[in-house]
Each structure stands twice: as structure tokens, then as C-alpha cells.
Amino acid sequence: MKLTLKIWRQSGPEDKGAMKTYPVEGIDGDMSFLEMMDVLNEQLIEQGEEPVAFDHDCREGICGMCSMYINGQAHGPKRGVTTCQLHMRSFKDGDTIYIEPWRSKAFPVVKDLVVDRSSFDRIIQSGGFVSVNTSGNTIDANATPIEKENADKAFDAATCIGCGACVASCKNASAMLFVSAKVSQLSLLPQGDPERKSRALNMVNQMDEEGFGNCTNTGACSVECPKEISLENIARMNREFLKASVSKE
């Protein structure tokens, strides 16, 4: 396969950045998208140019590090996969592919396709946990049975990989899907119950402080989410938030 790549190049946060065009050849359908990027980078190094910086680590769709906006879609055209799981068989010989970083005020560009997602960490630090120490004296794990349905739902919400595709896909750059996934997981489990109010309030506050936009329920986030995190979580979080706000007054 021969392809034309149009890639966002930006040397650092201060640089304005621009799209640049690169041809690549010899791309095999069995290659992953990131392996295709490896081919390009080898080529650039050989030509004495700087390779394209992009984030990646596990390359199996679980660490949440890869983050490319491909032809106008977060993680590219396939549903339910991350960029690293996208394979070149999804493209045709002669295609032109546009590759950009996530774009959001709360995710400033570090370099080329790499963005700073530390705002997500700060949201979790504001309340995305159960306050329990590692004393070694916790109660037996089976002492509190949990209804399978709730356990499964909590698990589904907990599979969020923190990639930020939801934010990148949202026209308001809202982080609601990410935040609601954590709030939901913990509110569905008895262990998360004691802190449910403060958690919802604190996490939503932090989200606003980080400069993420408002949710207008377009649902684009869930469509583009590689883990198919459900919109139900947003509804659940809204209920949690409302209940918590009311009882605060």
C-alpha cells in the first residue's frame, strides 16, 4: 500500500503548528496503525528529519496512552478500538490520511501528536477513590456479597482507559464520560457508598476547574470511546450530583 499522510507537526506548546505531508510506501494490511507510524519515523530518521512524536506504550488497547485523531475521528474509523489496535487493512492503497492530536483546552499539545492529559489525574485525585488504608485489617472480601448485575455494571464502567477520546470527540470538549465512569463504578459498589456525595461534588468541581466544557448530551463521546463506555453512566452521575447538591443545601 502507498499512502499520503497529512500530519500535525508542532515543535512545542508555544509553536503554532501546521499540517505537513508525508508519503509512505510498503504498508501491509497486517500492520497496526502505530507500526505504520514506525515505518514513517524510520524513514524520517534516515532522511535526517525529526520523527513524529506520538504517545503509545502497551500497543494492545489497554494503557490508554495512544491518542490520535485520524480522519476527523478519535482513534480512527473503527468503533471500539484504540489507535494501536487499528490495523492498516481498514485503509486502501492510495488513501490520504489526516492525523492530528486530541484538541481541547484542557489537553495542551506537548509536541506533534502528544498532549498533556494530567487534568484527568487531578480529577481522580479530587475524589476518584475509596478512603481505605492498607492496614491489612480490612474485612473478608466475601463478607459483603455484591449483586452480580451491579458488580458487572461497575466493572463495565471501570474499564475506562483514561485515553481522552471522549473529550476529543465532544464539540464542547466535555469530560463527562470519563468522570461519570469513575463516579458510576464507585457508586454501584457498597464500598463506594460512604463517600458518594463528596465524590460526585468534588470530581465535577475539579472537572470544571480544569476547563472542560459542558455536556449537551450529543453522545459523540460514547460513540468514539474505544471501551464503549455507556451514556447511562452520565445519567447516573447527574443523579448522584443532583442528590449530593440538594443534600448539601
Binding site: 497486517d30 490495523h87 489525574d121 475509596v130 481505605v132 492498607t134 480490612t138 483514561g162 463504578q185 463506594g192
Partner: protein, 667 residues
């Protein structure tokens, strides 16, 4: 260097940990505020250690090279975590878990450490559940279990195929809570470049900010390395792209002994290599062997037909299939330990029965499990005469609920649908049992320098059983290190903050800078990956699943040559004072090029086969590993030498009090 002291407590195995905790020195809560600890790595070991130390009152600085602690490689663990809870009432106990682990490790681990691991395992599950980790549950709301290789009980707790993710997110949430409190300062996108030694003690590190390229000095009273394993020395492995040996290697260069580097786990069920472009390999969790059956055709013409795509797995009749694990190991069948399963796959493929174009693949088949589950579902649904189609449909739904994400992953990568046709799999490098030598307190032989998780050598001997790395990482971080480190730190309550302006820091920083400058200004012609791939090929061909004297000697020579070529001809683009992933990679590959040589030397020196270390010269008539307990029941701990193959060997003799050394048999 002094003799190796394992500081194993006295007394019967079952009392050692309790006695030890009662005997060691503690630091009182007020004094903990005066003590700083550096933790390198935020995987299961690092996150749990950092969070626990902070909860206890120490001031913690934690480092990772990813953009957030939650992306550490532990996130990718799939199948599960062991614990001796005996919830299934199938006769499990601390002793049985300990025994299985020692035996699984082919009697090359330290009894006392392994026993302690089994002992604290049950508590890990309690802790994780309390944090909100959503483990799989049954309809009664209680925790569910599955079986892993090398054992006859069901003691593996899991969260679908994402157990590592869920456990790490639990530890990450505990860590985040301490960051919010200001007890942990988190340094993301930072790489540890060296350990700083003051008066013979580890007193800090030099770190590089990967965004700006700036070097930073960080002082502390102790340094804990939780930097993971070094499987990427093979270039292709199931590890994440960034996993590296550098932190451990830098510690080795500063005096810490590297133990059993040649003990590598080659995992039997990974997606086979598809071409030269391949950048990593993907694991298909061992849990799949609960339900998947491994086989190759009995007839070579069938193999040929499959490769030419004129036949598919499902076209081969039962009687023409060789379920070789069930044939060779009737009592454990498809659930033999990993080293055994991997070698058996290699044996069949070497004999010409491989089922893909490279000749290196075997089938992992779910067809019978789908039918079995489908029939059960029919009973549950009370359908008397279900059709074939119904049975398969229901069966597939059950399989999906257990392994859905793994099946999806397989399909993404190969474009084949494992619900309808058998998976193709082949062994791949997965885990490294070797690592920094540590004593019972998890301290290396360098005072104040600790190692936890995959970075140390301690619990798995020559072969790790499935689902026990997650267990070890969390055991070390939550329950062991936070206690044992107090023994050392109790002497530091009056030391005061470590001064990073002192000479030792200046020198260390200067050395790091010199090396970076050398890499950046080298102006060579070949990329870092070029060298990494060459190293990987030598490692896989000569230091991989089967090793022999000649191959190992050649490997040492070839690795030396590649290393020399690297320093002459590597080309690192960009600048040292900016975000530069190629530069990060170059430093890591440079270290792999040294480790690889020591690795081969260790394999050469160990003239026996044990666990994952298989020397062709030492095998039984049936091709099973042949140990030599008289000569080799020791831990090989290597002292650094500039020429890694000339490193000095120190032996820690292994003594076994409660288990009898036997030939492992899974027949």
C-alpha cells in the same frame, strides 16, 4: 562486597513473617515525617508501595516515564491474581499455594520469601475489594475463581480479561488519594537515569524530565525500584514498548547484584509473529487454557493444506488431531505450567507440524468448550431438545462473557474470528523471573536500595506460575516493603534532608549528561530500532526457548559486536533539551545491550535445565528439563563488571526445609 545475607528469620516457615515483624525496628509516626523515600515506578508494586508508605507517614516521591501513573505496564495483565482463600472449598491453603509456587519455580526460589507471598495473598483480595476493585462475581454475589496452569485448585481471582487494569486502577486510586493529601509528589514523564550513592548508601537519584530534557537531583533516605521486567531485551515480547531494564541496570552498575538474569518466561499462548514490521507481541491470557484445547494436525499434509488455506482447523476430523499436551501430560493436560507448554509447542513446530506460513503456530481451539457450555445453558434454560445452532449460540455467549475482550483483541489483530475458528498461537517472551538480588526485607545488597515486583528476583525461581506476578507486586508493595523498610530507616530519623548539592550528586549528574551528549552528538547512520532488532534476534535465536553452549558463546560475541557498532553508528535525532522519545529509547537500548551479555553468560554458566532455562545438553530422554540440584541449587547473583560476561558470580545457596526437591511431573 560482603557475603550475601538473605536475613531469613529463624523458626518454622509459618512463623517467620510474624516473628520478623515483631523483631524488626520500627519508625514512630512522628519521625516518619522526617524521612523521604523515592519510589521508581507506579505499576502494581510501585503504586501500592508509594501509597502505603505515604499512608504510614513517610514523604514519598514517585516516578514513572508514562504521562500518568495509571499507564504502567501492569495495566496490561489479563488473566488473574492468585490467593489462597479456599473460597471454592477445593482444599486450597497457604501451604498449597506456597508449595505450588516453589514447585512451579522448579525449586530455584527462596523458601521463606515464597511462603510469605502465599501467606499475605489472602489479604490482597480483601484490600482490593475494599478499594472498589470490581472482581468477577457469581450469581450469589460472591467472588468467582478460575484455574491457572500448574495447579489443581481454583484460586485465581479475575476481572474478565482485564485483571491487571482493575488492580492497577485500585492501587492508582490509593496513590491519587495520597497525592491529593500532599504525601506523595508524583513525577510523571520522568526517567530515573542513575542512583546516587553517598557513603556507601543509596541516597537519591538523577532523573530526567522527559518533556524538557532537564536533569534533576532528588535526595531521599531510601530508594525503592519498582521498575518492572526486562523482557524487551528480546525486542519482541508481550511487554509494553517502554518497559526497560535501565533503572535496575543503573543500580547494578552502582553495586547491586543482578540475580538469575537468564530465567525468562516464554509464554505459550501469544499471537504469532506476522512479519518484519512487528513491533510487539500480544498475549492471549493463560486463562484461555481453562477452556481452550491446544492441538496440531497429526498429518503433515493437513498442516500444508491449512497453510495454503485450502483447509481450516474445523475441517480436520477429531481422529486426525494431536492434542499433544493432553497426550503427553494426562493429569494436567492443557493446564501444564508455561515453560512445559511452550517447549511442547516448539517441539511440534520444529517437527514440522506448525499451522501458519512461518511454521511457528499451533491451534488453541474453543469448539468443544462452546458445545459444552451450550449444553449446560440448555439445561439451565430447561430446553429439552436444543438444536445444534442453539447450543453453539448459547455456548458462544458464555465464552464471550468469560473472555470477550481477548477474543475481540485476537480478531482485531489477525482478522480471524475465534468464536468460529481455532486461534493460532505461539510462545513469546513474557516475563523475567530474574532481577535485582534482594534479601528477605527486599533490600538489595546496596544499603537503602530496595527492589519490588518484577524488578527483583525473589519469589518465582526459574519459572513463574500464572497469576502470581500480580500477587507478588501487590504483596511487596502493600504488605511487605512498608514494614521491612522501617528496619533500615529507623537509623535515619536524625539524618535530616539529603543535600543534593553535595559532590556525589554533582558527579552522578555529570556522568548522565556526558552519556546523553554522546548519544545525541554521535551522528551515526542507523536508528536505535535497528540495533534493538538485531539484539533481539540474537537473544531469541540463541538465548531463547532452548539454549546450548555453542549458541550462548556465539551470542556473547555477537552482542558485544552489536554494542560496539551501536556506540559507533547509532543515530539519535533531535535535541537533548526537548521532548525526544528517540533519545529515551537510545538510553534504554544501550543498557539492554549490556544486560543481554550478562544474560547469556548466566545461561552459559548454569549447566542444567530448570524452569524456563532449558539447556539442550541437559534433558531427559522424553525431552523434559533435567535439573542438577547438587551443583546448581543456588541463586546466581552477579557483581557488575564493565565486560558483562566477566561479571563476578556470588552464590546464595538455597536450602529447603519444608519441601522435598523432586523432579517436577505434570504427567
Amino acid at each position: 562486597m560482603a557475603k550475601l545475607k538473605s536475613v531469613t528469620p529463624k523458626g518454622a516457615l509459618k512463623d517467620q513473617w510474624t516473628n520478623h515483624k515483631n523483631d524488626i525496628n520500627l519508625v514512630n509516626p512522628a519521625n516518619k515525617r522526617l524521612i523521604d523515600v523515592i519510589v521508581i515506578g507506579t505499576g502494581l508494586a510501585g503504586s501500592s508501595a508509594a501509597a502505603s508508605l505515604a499512608e504510614m507517614g513517610y514523604n514519598v516521591k514517585a516516578f514513572c516515564f508514562q504521562d500518568t501513573p495509571r499507564r504502567a505496564h501492569s495495566i496490561a495483565a489479563q488473566g488473574g491474581i492468585n490467593a489462597a482463600k479456599n473460597y471454592q472449598n477445593d482444599g486450597d491453603s497457604t501451604f498449597r499455594l506456597f508449595y505450588d509456587t516453589i514447585k512451579g519455580g522448579d525449586y530455584r526460589s527462596r523458601e521463606s520469601n515464597t511462603y510469605r507471598l502465599a501467606e499475605v495473598s489472602a489479604n490482597i483480595i480483601d484490600q482490593c475489594v475494599a478499594q472498589g476493585v470490581p472482581f468477577a462475581r457469581d450469581y450469589g454475589g460472591l467472588l468467582d475463581n478460575r484455574s491457572f496452569g500448574g495447579v489443581l485448585v481454583s484460586r485465581t481471582f479475575y476481572a474478565k480479561g482485564q485483571t491487571g487494569q482493575q488492580l492497577l486502577l485500585g492501587a492508582y486510586s490509593a496513590l491519587s488519594r495520597q497525592v491529593a493529601k500532599g504525601k506523595v509528589t508524583m513525577y510523571t514523564r520522568h526517567e530515573m537515569m542513575d542512583v546516587v550513592m553517598v557513603d556507601g548508601k543509596a541516597r537519591g537519584i538523577i532523573a530526567r524530565n522527559l518533556i524538557t530534557g532537564e536533569l534533576e537531583r532528588h535526595g531521599a533516605h531510601a530508594v525503592v525500584l519498582c521498575s518492572g521486567g526486562y523482557g524487551n531485551v528480546f525486542f519482541l515480547s508481550t511487554n509494553a514498548m517502554g518497559s526497560n531494564v535501565s533503572a535496575a541496570w543503573k543500580a547494578h552498575k552502582k553495586g547491586a547484584y543482578f540475580a538469575n538474569p537468564c530465567y525468562t518466561q516464554i509464554h505459550p499462548t501469544c499471537i504469532p509473529v506476522s512479519g518484519d514490521h512487528q513491533s510487539k507481541l500480544t498475549l492471549m491470557s493463560e486463562s484461555l487454557r481453562n477452556d481452550g484445547r491446544i492441538w496440531v494436525p497429526k498429518k503433515k499434509e493437513d498442516c500444508k493444506a491449512i497453510i495454503e488455506k485450502s483447509k481450516r482447523a474445523e475441517d480436520i476430523p477429531e481422529e486426525d488431531r494431536d492434542y499433544y499436551l493432553e497426550r503427553r501430560y494426562p493429569s494436567f493436560g492443557n493446564l501444564v505450567p508455561r515453560d512445559v507448554a511452550s517447549r511442547a509447542a516448539k517441539e511440534r513446530c520444529d517437527a514440522g507440524f506448525g499451522v501458519n506460513k512461518t511454521g511457528n503456530a499451533v491451534f488453541l481451539d474453543f469448539a468443544s468448550a462452546i458445545v459444552r457450555y451450550g449444553k449446560l445453558e440448555a439445561n439451565i434454560k430447561n430446553v429439552k431438545n436444543p438444536t445444534d445452532k442453539q447450543i453453539k449460540e448459547w455456548g458462544r455467549a458464555v465464552v464471550k462473557s468469560k473472555y470477550g475482550n481477548l477474543f475481540d483483541m485476537y480478531k482485531q489483530i489477525t482478522d480471524d474470528d475465534p468464536y468460529f475458528t481455532a486461534m493460532k498461537i505461539y510462545p513469546a517472551v513474557h516475563y523475567t523471573m530474574g532481577g535485582l538480588w534482594v534479601d528477605y526485607n527486599l533490600m538489595t545488597n546496596v544499603p537503602g536500595l530496595y527492589a519490588c515486583g518484577e524488578a527483583n528476583f525473589s519469589d518465582h525461581g526459574a519459572n513463574r506460575l500464572g497469576a502470581s506476578a500480580l500477587m507478588q507486586g501487590l504483596a511487596d508493595g502493600y504488605f511487605v516493603l512498608p514494614y521491612t523498610i522501617g528496619d533500615y530507616l529507623s537509623k535515619d530519623i536524625r539524618t535530616g534532608a539529603i543535600d543534593t548539592e553535595q559532590k556525589a550528586f554533582e558527579e552522578a549528574e555529570q556522568n548522565v549528561q556526558t552519556r546523553i551528549d554522546k548519544l545525541i552528538n554521535n551522528n551515526g547512520t542507523k536508528s536505535v530500532d535497528h540495533f534493538h532488532k538485531r539484539l533481539g534476534k540474537v537473544m531469541w535465536d540463541k538465548v531463547g526457548m532452548a539454549r546450548n553452549e555453542k549458541g550462548l558463546k556465539d551470542a556473547i560475541k555477537e552482542i558485544t559486536e552489536i554494542r560496539e557498532d551501536f556506540w559507533k553508528n547509532v543515530k539519535v535525532p533531535g535535541s537533548a533539551n526537548a521532548f525526544n522519545p528517540e533519545l529515551d529509547k537510545a538510553g534504554r537500548v544501550a543498557d539492554f545491550l549490556e544486560l543481554g551479555e550478562l544474560f547469556a553468560q548466566d545461561a552459559l554458566d548454569r549447566k542444567e535445565s530448570c524452569g524456563g532455562h532449558f539447556r539442550e545438553e541437559y534433558q531427559t530422554k522424553e525431552g523434559e528439563a533435567l535439573r542438577d540440584d547438587k551443583k546448581y541449587a543456588y541463586v546466581a547473583a552477579w557483581e557488575y563488571n564493565e565486560v558483562p560476561s566477566k561479571a563476578k558470580l556470588h552464590k546464595e545457596e538455597l536450602t529447603f526445609k519444608e519441601v522435598e526437591l523432586k523432579t517436577r511431573s505434570y504427567k
